[in-house]
Symmetry: C2
Subunit: 276 residues, 2 copies
């Protein structure tokens, strides 16, 4: 059976240096312009937690900071459960890669919280916007110059599609799109982490100008458990992202991801560097 | 001259163990029900970064994870610049406190990003809601049973005030309020970090039911520099907070803080445990 490209990208080998120490390698399938798709790096960071032999519960929150460019090839990830309580566990995560000097350098830092969750009262206070169903929305066409990682997602933008003319005419920063893995794969936490970073830079939309950018920090909260993920399966998610403030080289993005049935599965924030 | 209670709470002594290692103590002024006000703990974590001798630039992002209860008394904070680039710096932060066994235990983890920012294009895509000016809004009255930290903030709720009847009648989770330090103090980054956590739990508002809660992780993005903070001075901020999803023991909160002049100074997210 063919391995899904996402499973290849998430493939970590547990080393014998210490519990939670893994080796892996960047995936050509999820390559962006000058490095891996950040969402995949974030997913790999979370995967190290999920693969840890002492894991308690399921992810509630994960923050990933992109400290330095990750180059093509091998990397190491260390996930450490720094505090384990009765029903929650707090993690620090660090990714490192050998530099030109042959030494290991930290490229990515992060923290995560996992928890054993109990059934409680609940409600959604951010209902899914009314949008046409996925079948009524055209998939985004990816030209020959498109970056590789985008080919591995099916994206059906409803509003706020990537500008077709870079003419400085932008006036809003909201995108709504249906999305899922291009090659069907049942949704799991690592995939959801990656999906929370699939929105193209808000500054490109807001300005209709393609300035250089780089995500600096990404935080995703999980409002789902394995059972609800199972209900979603290979279905579409509705993703919504908006910019809130753009100022002196940085902007933030607030995002939500609902199942097609309207369950708010994840909420996410990120802050992104932009050049001009 | 009398020291402001916030400056007392932020008072850290740089130890000689290593650069970025500080000792401090919890402040009775910012005591919550069973521990310090989490916003103050977050502010102390950021303060360790701000006091580090190798600090580059000003805060862009900070995430603080509340891993365990912090008890009354002494604690240690270690801020480490794990990666310093040309204009950005990535930090890990850890707070520890001696337990009943006499050993140090990690109570709080965090990461931060600081940066030297340059002037660029910018815009606000989340304008301040239209609200009456602070002078037209009654300050919240704090009864004799009010917790201590609330006395050190002036809060003028416009909508979504803390329920006066706990009768299960709630139907929304949005609060808008004017707020500032009760005793005037010019705004700085540590104060802004604390202010981003001053909203009472969304689940209390949404349900008009005071269930036990605890913030698990808080992320704040800073859209300001020292100059803009200087313009704000001791003025009011408009704070807005909403819940997005409440499910199986956790809910998230999205928040924005504007200056009275309408500058979006900070955006913030948190995920909070609730009991029932």
């Amino acid at each position: 059976m063919k391995t899904h490209p996402l499973d290849k990208a998430l493939d970590l080998v547990h080393s014998d240096i210490q519990a939670g120490h893994f080796t892996g390698a960047t995936s050509p399938d999820y390559w962006n312009m000058v490095g891996p798709f950040g969402g995949m790096t974030a997913a790999v960071m979370l995967q190290a937690v999920l693969r840890h032999p002492d894991l308690l519960g399921e992810p509630v929150a994960a923050t990933v900071n992109f400290a330095a460019a990750l180059g093509e090839g091998a990397f190491e990830v260390l996930a450490v459960p720094v505090r384990t309580n009765r029903s929650t566990q707090h993690w620090t995560i660090q990714m490192s890669q050998a530099g030109a000097d042959g030494k290991l350098h930290v490229t990515t830092t992060g923290t995560a919280v996992t928890a054993v969750r109990r059934e409680t009262w609940g409600t959604n206070d951010f209902p899914m916007p009314e949008v046409p169903p996925p079948s009524a929305v055209e998939p985004m066409q990816i030209g020959p110059k498109g970056v590789e990682w985008i080919r591995h997602y099916e994206m059906r933008p409803i509003i706020g599609s990537i500008p077709s003319r870079w003419d400085g005419s932008g006036d809003a920063s909201e995108t709504r799109m249906w999305l899922r893995d291009a090659e069907p794969r049942p949704l799991d936490f690592a995939a959801l982490m990656a999906l929370s970073d699939t929105f193209y830079p808000r500054v490109w939309l807001r300005r209709a100008t393609p300035v250089p950018i780089g995500t600096v920090s990404l935080t995703t909260y999980f409002h789902t458990d394995a059972a609800l993920l199972g209900d979603v399966g290979t279905g579409y998610l509705l993703g919504r992202a908006t910019g809130q403030q753009f100022r002196n080289g940085y902007f933030d993005q607030a995002a939500q991801l609902w199942s097609e049935a309207g369950a708010l599965l994840a909420t996410s924030s990120q802050i992104v560097y932009f050049k001009e």
